[in-house]
Symmetry: C2
Subunit: 442 residues, 2 copies
């Protein structure tokens, strides 16, 4: 089936009426006398809608959740947003009452600059945990960025850069489609890299299929579609369930995971408020935007050298399928074997065996394929090694991206996980350097 949307250039400023900019205001307080450009990456960004927009959000289900997440979760109840201020370099997590005051002050500073209500300003942060926000720097940044807002691709890119932490590249996408006679666009940016296994929900209640999960990932999506708030929240929930909540880099869920979507209605479509074909088209485009962004996070995860799509089918239940796919995708031994290009099925069976999903060794099939290919190379059928040559399996497992297919053959539950290998570079990056605390992760 041909997708009902096309990709267009830019990202969050592609839909009508969205303005953006990003600046450097030294949130890590590295100073400027170091002679290196290390700390000069933009670290504060602002996204603004010309008119108040309908907003939906999904947030970390961690019990230790950052001040900006608490603020967003409160504000989203009114369903209206006009601006999002985001910083990297400091997560404003584990910062107590002062942290919440600082997050609110950030919203107020933006509100003052834009002359709107602070209740319409959403805040997101990512970076080191447990360090108070450097408010003088933040204020300088907000004053500066408020003067630079425009709708250019360049400015959208500035925001995509400003939210990066250990990401090596900005992550952006935009699509365009028709709803009735109107031309609608959805644009999105995100960041990830480490602490990546989101388990977000709208309410703080952990999704049933995520028994106990674990990143900072931030995603910001803009659209000029006109859509009812409840519909937008339901659409985002479905899109996130199939994308950001289906990825893992290191199995650690963050205190700050946040996805926000702002819909300002300027495309002029007739407002989406019932289950109809227009809503389906919108959903399909939103799903695509979220999934592409989510995959970019895994591919650019800390130290990642291989991207593996793990598909579990034939599980007793959907929940079991999810447990099985996460046991495999988060096993240190499976992930190191991927790094080595080793089509090891013993470790996969090991992980399935200790998962809390029901498995029967004698029924398990394991196969490898090129990404998206239906041509499966079976290494194990019904628990028994096949005659497939080790060299043929190695050829697939040596590629930068491949698919791993696991059929438990005991039911109809299925699940997918976009996963990554575990490399020396991941360890080296995350061990940091205590003599240079700026290298220490959140």
């Amino acid at each position: 089936m041909k997708p009902s949307f096309k990709t267009v250039s830019s990202s969050i400023t592609a839909p009508q009426g969205f303005f953006a900019a990003g600046v450097f205001c030294d949130i890590k307080r590295l100073g400027t006398g170091k002679g290196s450009n290390k700390g000069k990456k933009r670290d504060l960004a602002l996204i603004v809608s010309e008119t108040p927009a309908t907003v939906a959000g999904m947030f970390t289900t961690s019990q230790v959740c950052a001040a900006p997440v608490k603020l967003c979760a409160e504000q989203i109840k009114k369903g209206v947003a006009q601006a999002v201020v985001v910083n990297s370099g400091n997560a404003n997590a584990c910062t107590g009452a002062q942290g919440l005051r600082d997050a609110k002050a950030m919203a107020q500073l933006v509100a003052d600059q834009l002359q709107i209500s602070a209740a319409k300003v959403f805040v997101a942060s990512t970076g080191r945990i447990g360090v108070p926000m450097p408010m003088p720097n933040v204020k300088r940044g907000i004053l500066a960025v408020s003067q630079l807002l425009n709708q250019s691709e360049e400015n959208a890119q500035q925001v995509a850069e400003a939210i990066m932490t250990s990401d090596t590249k900005p992550k952006q996408i935009a699509v365009e489609f028709k709803l009735g006679g109107a031309t609608v666009r959805i644009g999105g940016i995100c960041k990830g890299a480490g602490m990546i296994q989101p388990g977000m929900s709208a309410t703080g209640a952990r999704p049933a299929a995520l028994p106990g999960l674990h990143a900072t990932m931030l995603g910001f999506i803009t659209t000029d579609a006109a859509i009812d708030q409840k519909m937008l929240q339901a659409s985002l929930r479905e899109a996130v369930a199939q994308s950001f909540n289906r990825i893992t880099v290191d199995g650690d869920m963050s205190t700050n995971d946040t996805v926000l979507v702002l819909a300002n209605g300027l495309a002029g479509n007739s407002k989406l408020k019932t289950q109809n074909s227009d809503l389906k088209t919108f959903q399909s485009a939103l799903n695509h935007v979220c999934l592409e962004l989510a995959k970019m996070i895994v591919r650019d995860g800390e130290g990642v050298s291989r991207f593996v799509t793990v598909r579990v089918t034939g599980a007793k239940t959907q929940v079991d399928a999810d447990r099985a796919v996460r046991a495999v995708g988060n096993s240190a031994l499976v992930k190191t074997s991927w790094h080595g290009g080793d089509p090891n099925w013993g470790r996969i069976l090991g992980a399935l065996g200790y998962s809390s999903a029901k498995v029967v060794e004698e029924k398990i099939d394991v196969a490898y394929s090129e990404p998206g290919s239906k041509k499966l190379l079976f290494s194990l059928k019904r628990g028994q090694p096949t005659k497939t040559s080790f060299a043929a399996l190695c050829k697939v497992a040596a590629q930068k991206e491949f698919d791993l297919h696991i059929n438990l053959n005991i039911g109809s539950g299925s699940a997918i996980l976009y996963a990554a290998d575990l490399t020396e570079d991941y360890v080296d990056f995350n061990k940091g350097d205590v003599t240079d605390p700026t290298t220490l992760g959140g």
Copy 2:
């Protein structure tokens, strides 16, 4: 309190009436023409009691469990053992019906040599998964090792070596104590290194406090105490719950985890069959043997550079304490920070937040200390960073071994986990080399 036992030399041959030996029979079938000593490490061992012994065991709760585990779980119902044959190099896991026939054939080969019943011969294996046992080599090994049995320290050491896989050193201990007038000894050996987070039970039912866990660890304990089988099983369960089931190297539970204890009664104590002070003395000695062996596994874990004892107190329940301590001890981000000597509390709070234990950020205390010391250096009190200097915390976190204390301050549940850092060496070792399949792990 002074312990009621003393350490003596040797291990499994320290108690009366136990004989042992280990040989090399090339179970990995590396051949002998390679000019290297790589494959020449002993890989098959036999432990024999002069008289039939009472036996107790704890086994992996993985649903994918190796043929020898299935055989032991069956045989242990009769409660009597006289010999244990163990090999490294091949796990005999995921080997189907042939695997079980091979495990039984190993028992029969030993039985024939010793002229005892095969039902009294227990089998354990560790090594690569999914490869048929090389039975001609195994047979040659069993014939050879049966001729070499004796009670020397040297032979006990041969067994400790023969069961090693990626272990860098043999792991052995023996203690001596008085029961009534009799002098009793307990000796033990074990192996570990990778796939280490045992969750063993006597019945295959997963311990309640282990919601979904994960090594190949093998442990063999001998004693000349006279003890009732049910009492021995209960004692082993308690000892394992406080030792082997409280360690993690990489969070992966093995298909082969096995601990066996054989008690041949030759010490001549009056048989332990009720809860009395003699049983307490025995229990305390068995606990000590198991805990010391378990810690040796963590210290010699694959790539391990630091040993961290994580203590959680103040949890809502015991189960919550276990969930919290395992979330911290298995977090990739926490483990890499340990590797870097970084006393990072942000990642610890992050892991607690996504754990399935109830936590309240504003109540959490985090402290560091020297191993076993009561002098705690708090980095976090009631969710707030303390004034303790970063340098002082770094000094503790830079040591090869330290204790991490987490008080959740919301209940009386407590748990301990003996954990390790995650290093580049772990990744490098486990990625293996597909051009040399002998380097690929199980």
